[in-house]
Symmetry: C2
Subunit: 167 residues, 2 copies
């Protein structure tokens, strides 16, 4: 029964391992891997779109945030990743003259790599939709066509918000 005991032990270990793995990483969007850890990135700006009633926070990875603080955002440096997190708005229950985030819509990202993504304006374009983070797969042209009006700003709509200098 040595083999049997070993199999029972292995099954137990596999189950424990799965229970501790947490949610699986979402699959790639447009061939781009999910940027793990973006939920902890620093803020670059916020915005409120009044045409579709959404609130947004614009986040950046370390390279992007450093570029913002050094004023080097046109062009953005290779390696910079910008993330835009979008929620439907709702009136705050405890402050009637304010709106805050309600239903999560999507998180979308621009990955700067002037060589790798030369064919799509130097950026990789990706989006993960809904709370389940389903990879967007309608093609980067959906992104670039909307961003074309800001091609002279390295394809980025966001004006970084002023932050008092970090020491």
């Amino acid at each position: 029964m040595k083999l049997e005991k070993m199999l029972v032990a292995m099954s137990f270990l596999a189950a424990v391992s799965l229970a501790h793995a947490g949610p699986a990483t979402p699959g790639p969007s447009h061939g781009i891997a999910y940027p793990e850890g973006w939920q902890n990135w620093a803020t670059i700006a916020v915005s409120h779109r009044v045409d579709n009633n959404t609130l947004r926070v614009i986040l950046g990875n370390d390279i992007a945030v450093k570029a913002v603080r050094n004023g080097q955002t046109n062009p953005w440096p290779d390696g910079a990743i910008l993330g835009k997190v979008v929620w439907k708005e709702t009136r705050l229950s405890k402050w009637e003259n304010a709106v805050g985030p309600a239903k999560f819509v999507h998180a979308e990202f621009m990955f700067k790599d002037s060589k790798k993504y030369a064919e799509t304006a130097g950026w990789g374009w990706a989006r993960w939709v809904g709370p389940e983070q389903k990879p967007f797969a309608k093609g980067a042209q959906v992104c670039t066509s909307c961003h074309a009006p800001v091609k002279d700003r390295d394809w980025v709509f966001t004006d970084p918000a002023f932050f008092p200098a970090a020491k």
Copy 2:
């Protein structure tokens, strides 16, 4: 002339040191030290106050963000710090149906310590005003009187935004 040379060298070193020190840390507000590094904290929520035309991002230190992700925000744990960064709104130049941050107003913070701050609802209340981060000194009652309507929510207005689970 040995002493004279030494003094010249010391002055030079002091000047070099100052030039590399960067901006000085702002002084305390209501006796609370400036929370260095908040510019890199993760986002908890965003909001738009339409009565005074300001956009906000609500940030948290590691303890606060962990509490949010574990749903432990009433009460918030000791050590949690919440930061609210406030800007006047402006219409985006490249997206007419959106508003984004313009003039920086202030950064204000709640420091949870149920014992240390027992006399002010378990929170330390501090604010640093304007780009120069001038310490606010009008008294914590200015803060608590405004927050009284949410005392059953551990004195916090913010509903944390939904974020897809960080792996």
